[in-house]
Symmetry: C2
Subunit: 331 residues, 2 copies
C-alpha cells in the first residue's frame, strides 16, 4: 500500500494543505508544524506521487529532446549537454529518438506522449519544405538549427555556414587545391547544405573548383563516411583535401583512406565538423569545427524554459559562434 499525502496529514494531525505546503517549501509554515510534518513523512516513508502533482499543476517538469539516435556521437554529447543544462534549471529531459527519419520527426510533434513534457527541443534533420506547417505547434518549442524552416519559433543555430567556410579556408591555407566534400545530401535546407555553402564560398573566393567531388550520405555516420571515400577512390577522383560535413563521417573517411594506403595528412588533409570527443583521440587527431555544443544546449534550454514559464516575449534567435580546431589531420 502506497502512502499518500492525506495519510501523512492524518499521522501528523494537520491538514492536507499543510503537508503540501511543507513538501513544496512554502514560506509561511511554522517551524513546529514543519517538523511535525517532516517526522510524519519520515515515519511513513512517504514519497510524493509526481504524476498526481503533474495533473494538478498542468506541468511535468520534463523537456522533450528529439534527435536522430544516440549512437551518433554528436547527438549523445548534445543530449548530455542538454541534460546538464536542464538539470540546472530544475528540469528533466525525455529523449525522443526519431531515427533521423521524416516520419519519426513528425511523430514527435503529434504523439500523445508530447503532453508528458512541458516543451520540446527539436533538432529535425529530415523534415522537408512541405513540412513547414507541422512546425506551427501550440506548445513551447525551440528549434535547433536555422531559421529557414519556421520563422516564428525560437531558434538556436550554430554557425554552420561560417564554420564551413573557416575550415575550408584552413584547408586551402594548408595548400589543398582539390577538396572533396563528403556528406552532402540534396536537402535544400539544414546543417548539411549550410556547411557546404560555406565551404563552396571559400573555394570560390580562392578561385578553385568548388565541385571537385562530393559524396552524399543520408545518415551521417562513420560507415557512410567510409563508404563515401571508398566510392571516391573507386571512381579515381583526385583530391588533396577532404571535408566531411561531420566528424563521424570524417573518422570513417580517415579509416578508409588508411585502408587504401593514402596518408593523412601527407597526401590528403582531412577535416570534419562537430568536435566530438572521439576526434581528439583519432589517429591522426582530427581537425574540426567546434560548434559550441554546451552553449547551444544552455541557450536552447533557457529559451524553452523562459517560454514555458511565461517569461518569453517574441520568437528569439541565437547564433552560437563556432571555432576552428586545428589538429594533426591537416598539419
Amino acid at each position: 500500500m502506497v502512502v499518500t499525502m492525506r495519510q501523512v496529514a492524518q499521522h501528523a494531525g494537520v491538514s492536507l494543505k499543510t503537508v503540501s505546503n511543507v513538501v513544496n517549501h512554502y514560506e509561511h509554515v511554522s517551524a513546529s508544524m514543519r517538523s511535525r510534518v517532516l517526522t510524519a513523512i519520515d515515519d511513513l516513508g512517504y514519497q510524493m506521487n509526481v504524476t498526481a502533482r503533474n495533473l494538478s499543476t498542468g506541468r511535468t517538469g520534463m523537456l522533450a529532446l528529439a534527435l536522430p539516435e544516440l549512437q551518433l556521437p554528436y547527438f549523445a554529447e548534445l543530449a548530455d549537454a542538454v541534460m546538464d543544462a536542464a538539470d540546472d534549471l530544475g528540469y528533466t529531459v525525455l529523449i525522443e529518438p526519431t531515427a533521423g527519419m521524416r516520419t519519426g520527426e513528425l511523430e514527435v510533434l503529434r504523439s500523445p506522449r508530447r503532453s508528458m513534457s512541458d516543451g520540446l527541443i527539436y533538432s529535425p534533420t529530415a523534415l522537408r519544405e512541405a513540412d513547414r506547417a507541422a512546425l506551427s505547434v501550440d506548445f513551447p518549442m525551440v528549434l535547433l538549427g536555422e531559421r529557414a524552416l519556421a520563422s516564428s519559433v525560437d531558434h538556436v543555430a550554430m554557425a554552420n555556414e561560417v564554420g564551413g567556410r573557416m575550415v575550408t579556408e584552413h584547408l586551402l591555407a594548408q595548400g589543398c587545391r582539390r577538396i572533396a566534400i563528403v556528406g552532402a545530401h540534396d536537402a535544400e535546407t539544414g546543417a548539411g547544405s549550410l556547411r557546404q555553402r560555406g565551404a563552396r564560398s571559400a573555394l570560390e573566393a580562392a578561385g578553385l573548383d568548388s565541385d571537385v567531388a562530393s559524396a552524399g550520405a543520408q545518415r551521417w555516420s562513420r560507415e557512410t563516411g567510409r563508404a563515401a571515400v571508398m566510392d571516391l577512390l573507386a571512381r579515381e577522383v583526385r583530391f588533396d583535401g577532404l571535408l566531411a560535413l561531420n566528424d563521424a563521417m570524417a573518422l570513417g573517411a580517415m579509416r578508409a583512406l588508411w585502408e587504401a594506403g593514402v596518408d593523412v595528412p601527407g597526401q590528403v588533409r582531412v577535416a570534419g565538423f562537430d568536435d566530438i570527443e572521439e576526434s581528439r583521440y583519432a589517429r591522426p587527431s582530427l581537425t574540426t569545427v567546434n560548434p559550441g555544443r554546451a552553449e547551444i544546449a544552455r541557450r536552447a534550454v533557457q529559451l524553452l524554459v523562459d517560454r514555458i514559464e511565461g517569461r518569453a516575449v517574441e520568437a528569439a534567435e541565437y547564433q552560437v559562434p563556432a571555432a576552428l580546431v586545428v589538429r594533426e589531420s591537416t598539419r
Copy 2:
C-alpha cells in the same frame, strides 16, 4: 483552451466512457459510434492528456534507465538499445544520468521522480558493499550487472569474467608475455573486478605474472586510458600486451602509445572490452569483447516489463554470452 475528453463526448453526443473506449481501442464499440467519436476528435483537435491517464491507471508507460553519462560511448549505445527494446513493448525510456557517482546512483533510487516511471533499469558502477540495503526497493527494478550486490532482484549480467579470460587468452596466444591491465579500480565488485579476475585467471593458467602492471581509473574514458598508459610509460614498465577494461580506455591507450612511438600491434598488442562502434574504425581497429549489448537490453526490458505487468514470478538472472572480436590491434 485545451480540449478534453468530456468536450469530445459532448460534441459527438456520446458519453465520456465511449470516447475513452474508442481512444483506447477497446474492442466492443460499434462502428458508427467509433466513427462519430473519431470525427469529433478530429473536429476539435483533441489530444489525450497522458498525465491524467497516468494518474488514473497508476502507470506511466515509462522505464527509467540509470547510467553514468551518455558521453561514454558504451552507455550511449546501451541507451539506444534499451530504447529500441522498450519501444517494441510499448514503453518509453527516461534516462537518469548518475555521473557515475555513488551519490547520483543513490539519488535515482530515492528521487520523487522515480514515481514517474513504472520501473528502473539500473546499472550502478559506484555503489559499495555498504549500499546493499538501498537496493531493496519496492518498485520493479532490474539490475545490469552481477548478482553480487543484491540477490533478490532481477539481474541481467554480461559475461565479464569469461570475456576477460577469453581476450587475455587471445593476447597470450598471440605471444604476449607481459600484459598490463588498465582501468582497475579497487571496488571489490562490479564489471571491472570481474573482467580483471578473468584476465588474471588466464595469466595464471599460463604460468605468467598476473600483476605486470595495472593502472587504475575511476571514470572509464578515453582520457583515463591515455593517462594510464602515459603513467606506465613514465614508470618505464615493460609490457607487450595491454588489456583495457573497456574500449574507451583502450582507444585512449592506443592514442598514447602512438604518441610515444610505440607500434600497435608490433610492439604492444592492445585489446578492450565492450565492442563499441568506434573500435571498428580506430587505427588500428581494436580487438575487443562483444558483451551482447542488444541482447542485454532486450532481456532487461523484457524482465522489467514482465515484473511491471505482474507476469514475473521470482527473481530471475540472465547471463548473456560474450564473444571475442579479433581485429588489427592484436594481429
